[in-house]
Structure formats: C-alpha cells, structure tokens
C-alpha cells in the first residue's frame, strides 16, 4: 500500500510547467528524497503534497483518501491533511518561546494539557534541547533552531513528514551530524518521509529511494545504489556522484568476441554489448572516478598513456585529473599519493562498471 500517491500532478505558472505530470507512489514508512537542481520543481511538488500550493491538475491521495482532485471535487486544506512540514527557513514563530512554538498546534488539536506537557518533554529530549524550553528562537543557534522546528514537527505525531531542505542553512559539520540524527529519528519513528534536497550526497546518505527531478519531470526513481551505479540518463549520471562521472564519446567497435569504445584518443574495453546491435554506432560511456585504476605506464606496454594534469588531495581520498588528447578523466584514489603533475600513467577499467548512453536520447542503453 502506498502512503502518498501522486497521479499526473501538474503545476503551471502561466505557460510554464513548474511540475509536469508527476506520478509517484511513496510507500509506508519510506524515506523518499526529491533530488534535483535548483528550479526543477522539488519545493513545488512538496508544497502541493502539503496543500500549501494548489495543483493545476492531477490527483493526490494518502492512504486511499483523496486529498486533492478537481475531477472528483475534493479539496482538503492543509489544516486537515494531518502531516508535518519542515520549512527551509524553519518558520519558527519569533515571538513565542520554544515550548509555545511546539504547543500551539497541539492545543488546536484539543489535546489534554497533561498529554501536551508530556509530548513537549519527550520531543525536546529527542532533539536534545531539554532546558531550552523558555528561550525565544532569536536566542538559539541555527542548529538549535533547526532542532526546534524538528521537535515541533514530530510533536504532532503525524505519520507523514515533509521536509524542504531542512539542513541547507547549517554549516557543513553540523549538517553531517544532523543527517545522522535525522536517519536515527526516522528509524525510531518510522514516519513516511518526503525529503527535498539539491545535495546529492545528502540524498544518497539518507534515502530509501531517490526521485531525481529535472525541469518539472521525474528523471529516475530508484534506490540510491541503482541511481548511482546505473543512472537512467546522462542527466542523472552527471547530477549524482562526486566527483562528476567521466563521460567519453566514441563508436562501438567489435574485435573478435570483444567490444571496444573507440575514438581518436582512446580505446576502452566494453562489456558484452552484442545484444545492443550497435556496431560502429556513436555512444557515450560513463565511468565513475573510483572505477578507474591507474598504473605506472612504464610497467605496462599500454599504448594509451595519460599524463597527470593536476593532483587534488582531499585527506581520505585524492582526485587525479588526467588527460590524453581531448580526453580528460577524473580518477579517485584512496588516501594520499606520490603521483605528481606531468607523470605518465596507464589506466584500466573493469568493463562491467561502464554504463552506455544513447547520444541522441541521452538515455541509458546498457
């Protein structure tokens, strides 16, 4: 059963499609992330689920209860959708204390005072803010404010959480901490979560499934692993992963039982692509930086010799930028390295790790 279901959900501003016929099923208890570049319609989609924005067309339902459908004449306002929402700006009420921020909504639900009190204590403990009850938002740090917003959302005990880039205002250290907190919390509460981010690392870390969006459309829905290893299109391949995926354009050549990608500069062995039937056709090959291994070129009689353009050590890993002719590749090595600029290197790639994309449609073909 799906917890949230979007059927043909569309949002137009004038003639511009901010969200274009999106179909999406969010499973019960799932952590789903909407990922995409700025302006691709993530926030709009999330706000439509919450009821803060009205779709131009389409149907939205939750637990088989229709929330919005013009055809069926159903419109449930946000007040009655019973879900939690976390704003990028946190939207804490600046004139209310932490406690009041949390309880205002609970009081509207007509809960008993005792219950409300218990919940405040409970959620503040969960977000590690006990003792901050009487502070005003302006008296809290960014991270603490973020946790108050989180507390306010979970106090309502709704089983759907919607979050719009909740970590984007935090510094990078805190962001990593909060990721783990969020993940822990999700394990704890098992609430169905739709999470918006443009940070692909965040998406890969947190999600059960990722929805990659581009220009109002869904580019791919899948688990982080598949999204990373078998991106459905060049767009997804380029957007996900750091450093960026290496792309090499060339023609497929057959040499006996083996297949190669060839261009003026390189010849790279491909997996068995016989069933594609694309001999002598142009394709684009994608290889992740960590799937390329380099070797001292003097040791192999590799004719495909690359030279090192720059070395970018980053502590746990080092990125090499290597070049040959017009080809530039990024290679990821673990730890530090002795390799220096202008060193000569040979490369090898396991054929099965290579993805192939159509040059015209830019879709994954293998």
């Amino acid at each position: 059963m799906s917890k949230i279901s979007l059927k043909g959900i569309t949002k137009k501003y004038g003639k511009f499609y901010a969200v274009d016929h999106i179909n999406l099923e969010v499973k019960v208890g799932e952590f789903l992330t909407l990922l995409g570049p700025s302006g691709c319609g993530k926030t709009t989609t999330l706000r439509m689920i919450a009821g803060l924005e009205e779709p131009t067309s389409g149907e939205l339902s939750s637990d088989d209860r229709v929330l919005y459908s013009k055809e069926k004449g159903v419109y449930i306002p946000p007040e009655q959708r019973n879900l939690g929402f976390m704003f990028q700006s946190y939207a804490l009420w600046p004139h209310m204390t932490v406690t009041k921020n949390i309880t205002l909504g609970l009081q509207s639900k007509k809960l008993a005072a005792k219950e409300i009190k218990a919940r405040v204590i409970d959620v503040l403990e969960k977000v590690q803010l006990s003792g901050f009850e009487n502070r005003f938002p302006s008296e809290l740090s960014g991270g603490q404010q973020q946790r108050v917003a989180l507390a306010r959302m979970i106090a309502a005990k709704s089983d759907i959480f919607l979050m719009d880039e909740p970590l984007s205002n935090l510094d990078s250290m805190l962001r990593v901490d909060m990721r783990s907190e969020l993940k822990h919390l999700h394990n704890d509460l098992k609430s169905t979560t739709v999470y918006v981010t443009h940070d692909q690392v965040e998406a890969l870390t947190l999600s059960d499934r990722i929805v990659v969006m581009n220009e109002g459309k869904i580019a791919q829905i899948d688990t982080p692993e598949v999204i990373y290893k078998k991106p459905a299109s060049l767009f997804v391949a380029k957007f996900v992963g750091s450093p960026a995926i290496n792309l090499i354009q060339g023609t497929i050549e057959r040499d006996g039982n083996r297949y190669y990608l060839e261009n003026a500069d390189v010849k790279i062995e491909l997996p068995d692509v016989s069933k594609l039937n694309m001999n002598n056709k142009e394709v684009i090959a994608g290889v992740r930086a960590e799937d390329i291994t380099v070797s001292d070129s003097t040791n192999t009689n590799n004719s495909q010799e690359f030279y090192v353009y720059s070395v970018l050590p980053g502590g746990s890993e080092t990125i090499l930028s290597i070049r040959r002719g017009k080809i530039e590749l990024l290679v990821k090595l673990s730890g530090f390295t002795n390799i220096k600029v202008n060193d000569k290197l040979g490369i090898s790639i396991i054929p099965e790790k290579i993805s192939l994309f159509d040059t015209e449609t830019e879709n994954l073909i293998f």
């Binding site: 803060l52 055809e71 004449g73 159903v74 449930i76 019973n82 009420w93 205002l104 909504g105 509207s108």
Partner: protein, 599 residues
C-alpha cells in the same frame, strides 16, 4: 456539477484571503466606487440648485451645463481659472520651500554630527502632527491688521507697525504656513533614504576617482530620487488639496483655492459645479501619482522607510555647529513654541487686541456665561458644547484608529496573500483611491448618499456613525499602505507552518500574524488617530449640533470671530494629540516618524 461546487466551496473555506478579498471588493464598491460614480453623474445632470438658473431644466436630466459653466462661460475665470492658478501657485511654492527645508534638515540629522540629535528629531516633526491651520491661527494673532477681520495682531498693536495686507492674509501667509507644516514629508522620507544608503557606496565612488560633485550627482542623487519623487507628489497633492489654512487665511480676502472654492459652491448647494472642480483636483492628484510611480516604480514610491543604522562617519560641522543649532532653535521657536504660547496667551485676554495686564482674565477658561462677552459663550471648562466636542473627537479618533488598523492589516493580508493576481492589484488600488478625493466633495457625496438607507446601511444623516464611516474610508489609503508594508515583512511560511499544524485561520491571525505586525499596527493606529483628530474639511458638512468635533467647533468659533474660544479649543486639541503620541510611544516603543512617513 455538484462536485465542482463542493470543490470550490471547500477551497473557498480554506482560503480566507479570497473571502476577505470578496468582502473588501463589495465594501469598497459601496463606499468608494459608488460615491465616485455618483459624483460624476452629478456633474452631468441638473441639480436642484440649477433649476433657478436654467429655464425648463428638469432635475436629474442629462446636461453639460456644469462643464460649460465651469470651463467655458463668463464665470470660468472666477470659478475655475483663478482658484486653479492660486492652487498651483500655492502647491508649487509650498513644495519648493518644504522640500528644500526638509532635505536640509534630513541631511543635517543623518549626515552631520549636529548635537542633541534625538531631541531635535523628536521635536522637529511636531508641526506635522498638529493641524496646519493651527499655525495659520497663530499667524493671524501676529500679523493681522485692523483693516481686515476687525482685530489687530501683535505687530500692529505692540510695535505700531502697519502690517501690509499681503502679509496678513492671502498667498504669502498661506505658503509660509503650509511650508512649515509639509516639510515633514520630505524630512521623513529623505532621512529614511539617506539612512539606507550605505556610505560605502559613496566611498566606493570616491575610491573609483569620482569628484565630490559627481558622487552627489551620480550615486547619491539617483538613490534618493524615489524619496524625492514621493515627497514631491505627497507635498504637491496635499498642499493643493488642503482646506483649513486657505480657508482661514484666504477667504477673508477672497483668495480662493480649488478646495475653498469647492467648499463655497457646495455650501451654497451648488453641487454640480463643486464636483466638476473636485474632479479637476482628482485628475491632478491622480496624474501626479501615476507619473511618479511610472518613473520610480510603484513599489518604491510609497514604501515605509526604515533606517538601517547610521552612517559611521558623519560630516563634522565644526565651527558651523552653533550656527546650525541656532537655526534649528529659531525654527522650532517659530513653528512650535511661539504659536502655542501665542494661542495660550490670547485665551487670557478679555479684548483680543489689548495686551495690557489689566486686560488679563480667566473668563474664557472658567467664566460662566456672560451675555456681554463672546455672545454669552461660557468658559471652556464650563462649556458643554466643548465637552461634547472633545468626547466626540476622542471617540472618533479611538474607534477609527482601531478599526483602521485592523482593516489595514486585513487588506494587507489579502493583498499580500493574493500577490500577483488581479484581485490583489484591484484591492490595493481601490483602497488607495480615497487619497485623491477632496474631503469636501467626498463628504458632500456621502451626505447625499446616506440621507436615505443605502445598501446594507441605514440612513445615517446627521449621525456620528456617518462621520466615523467617512473618516475610516478616507484613512484607508494610509492604513492599507501600512498594513501591506507590515504584511510584506511577515514571511509566509510562518502562517503556513501554523496551517499545517491544523491551527484554524482565526487563531493564526490572532496569535501569529497580529503579534508579528504589532509595530505596524500601532503606528497605523497612531497615524489614523492624529488624522482623525485634525480632520476638518472632511467632516465639516456632516456634523450636526450633537455630533460636533473639536475641529468643527474651532471652525465655527472662527467664523463667529470668538478668538479666545478658537485658541483655547485649539490648545485642547493640541494637547490631546501630543498626549496620544507620547502614550503610544511609551506603550509600543514605536517611532512616530515611522508611521508618519506613510501619511
């Protein structure tokens, strides 16, 4: 079909801004648009007044008679050309002087190290809060000569100076008095603009090698241009449309401006011609405003200016400091201290132009009715008419300020929430429309409209409610501006967060939006209170003996030449305005300057 209906019903229910917009559109149509249309219709039909003049005319029949008479007849010169030229002359002279004075003061306070800044800044806007005709009255006490209006002023009595007529009445005194009132617009808007200009912008210019004059011309001037434009439009439209001062200082010498001419016409029940002139004023004001907003952009032209902290390195005045301080002191003496002292003093004088000690009396404050003195009018503290007017004025000010502040916020809410839609633009524009209506003409229309029951309103002729209603409507432009400005500063996610939590609209408004707009709300209240207290032309036709206000009472004492009562009641009015100011300042810690810069 039924589904469709249910859908829209549900949608409507959860979108209070749409319901509010619909309500506003209905109310505005009845109270702003219908009166305007009636005004136009009146100009195109025969009125009761015309029947004596035109043989065979039928009341209500279509005619161009009024337009012909105002624009193309032997009366055109006295009905239209002269008042128009007078108004233009007054408007532009006042604007020139007021903008010079205002800009100079703004520069002095924002950009130099003038001492006692806070004190001067507080005092310097006082002339704006008191009605401009208070200074006019004080002017007369000083400059009146015995040839016109009977009594003679301080100059001629004390110093035996023969004050020339042009200095006691007419163009020159009107321009000076109005300038001393309206410089406040430029002062407030320019201070705001100068404060928001980061001095780094100018320093960057200096580093880039620009000369001082070029910096002023190429960097500073363009940045303060919106403020200058707004000051210009505000000052021109208001000084051309104002009634009290030209009435007090112009009518005795038959110096008519358009508003006083409209008053004269409407007072003699010549509605048709009066409204044609009113339309002239409306067209002038609307043109000025639209040109200004075309050039500068609507958003910038009337924004509230809030200072972002002071420029770090103000210009040193050095040796010139005492000169500037002395100038300021003189300015304050002339605009505030002397007028008030003069008013107060004159209320203790038995004969208005006898300044000897033996002439001193407290009769006008405490005396019982004496048929020999001021037609038997009892002293101010024994005078039931004055007491009633005080209560009425207070009631009007308090109710109107609360209602207007709420309406302003609600209008702001529906405008900001519907931002980008046509409804939002319409509401914003219509709420601003009363600004361009001359008070006299507006009230003449209301008088006619509410003499019978109209729409949901009962007949309100002669009631306090009618006065309250028109004051509220006339103040909508300012309260809606401040409401919109306040709403724009409330991030929309704050309300959304509440609505997602299941908090119903009323609670959201009360617990979240209202507290967040508190300072805008309070300054909106103060602004309405001040304008309601000093409203004269708008209410003068509408008051009945029981519903008289302090201002109309002053006006009627004035026409009866009961100088001491005029001055005494004026003092009471001033006192109320100043106390209200101090109270609100203390209570809400908002700055009057903020609220006034909208007005």
């Amino acid at each position: 079909m039924l589904q469709r209906l249910n859908f829209y019903k549900a949608k409507l229910k959860s979108k209070p801004e749409i319901i509010l917009s619909i309500i506003f559109i209905i109310i505005f149509s009845l109270l702003i648009i219908v009166p305007f249309i009636k005004m136009i219709i009146t100009t195109f039909t025969y009125q009761g007044y015309d029947l004596r003049l035109v043989r065979g005319a039928k009341k209500g029949a279509f005619t161009l008679f009024h337009y012909k008479r105002v624009f193309a007849s032997e009366l055109t010169k006295s009905f239209f050309i002269t008042p128009l030229l007078n108004s233009l002359k007054v408007g532009f002279s006042v604007t020139t002087i007021a903008m010079l004075v205002g800009s100079l003061l703004a520069w002095l306070f924002v950009r130099t190290d003038i001492p006692f800044k806070r004190f001067f800044q507080t005092v310097i806007v006082v002339p704006y809060m008191i009605p401009s005709w208070v200074i006019a009255i004080a002017w007369q006490l000083f400059f009146q000569n015995s040839r016109i209006g009977g009594q003679s002023g301080v100059l001629s009595t004390f110093f035996n100076i023969d004050v020339p007529d042009w200095l006691s009445f007419g163009f020159i005194p009107i321009v000076i008095v109005l300038s001393l009132h309206y410089y406040a617009y430029t002062f407030l808007l320019m201070s705001g603009a100068l404060q928001t200009i980061d001095s780094e912008l100018e320093e960057a210019g200096a580093i880039a090698g620009l000369k001082r004059w070029d910096i002023l011309r190429k960097i500073t001037f363009p940045l303060v241009l919106p403020a200058l434009g707004s000051s210009f439009v505000l000052t021109v439209t208001r000084s051309m449309g104002t009634f009290g001062t030209p009435a007090f200082l112009g009518l005795p010498v038959r110096f008519f401006t358009i508003p006083t001419q409209i008053y004269a016409m409407i007072n003699s029940r010549n509605m048709g011609d009066g409204f044609v002139l009113a339309l002239v004023l409306i067209v002038i004001a609307a043109t000025a405003i639209s040109i200004n907003s075309k050039i500068i952009g609507v958003r910038k032209s009337f924004v509230t200016m809030k200072g972002k902290g002071f420029r770090a390195n103000p210009m040193k005045l050095g040796k010139a400091t005492p000169i500037f301080v002395a100038l300021l002191v003189v300015f304050i003496l002339i605009t505030i201290v002397i007028p008030i002292v003069m008013l107060a003093w004159s209320t203790f004088m038995l004969l208005p132009d006898n300044y000897s000690l033996s002439n001193m009396t407290n009769h006008f404050w405490f005396g019982e009715s004496d048929a020999l003195i001021s037609s038997g009018e009892p002293g101010i503290f024994r005078n039931r008419g004055i007491l009633r007017a005080t209560i009425n004025s207070l009631k009007l000010g308090i109710i109107a300020s609360i209602v207007n502040a709420f309406l302003g916020l609600l209008i702001g809410y529906s405008v900001v929430k519907n931002r980008g839609t046509r409804i939002s633009k319409i509401i914003e524009a219509v709420a601003f429309a009363p600004y361009v209506f001359p008070g006299i003409a507006f009230s003449a229309i209301y008088l006619g409209m509410f003499s019978k029951s109209f729409g949901p309103f009962p007949a309100l002729y002669g009631t306090f409610s009618l006065i309250l209603l028109i004051v509220i409507v006339k103040n909508l432009p300012f309260s809606s501006r401040s409401g919109i400005a306040a709403m724009l500063q409330v991030d929309k996610s704050l309300e959304e967060a509440a609505s997602i939590q299941g908090i119903p609209w009323f609670k959201r408004f009360w617990f979240i939006i209202l507290p967040l707009c508190k300072s805008g709300f309070v300054s909106g209240m103060l602004l309405t209170f001040i304008t309601a207290m000093r409203e004269l032309s708008l209410v003068i036709l509408l008051v009945a003996p029981k519903t008289g206000l302090l201002t109309t009472l002053i006006f009627s004492y004035k026409t009866q030449e009961q100088t001491q009562h005029v001055n005494g009641v004026t003092l009471i009015l001033l006192l109320i305005i100043i106390i209200a100011n101090v109270l609100i300042r203390l209570l809400a810690k908002t700055k009057t300057e903020q609220s006034i810069s909208l007005g």
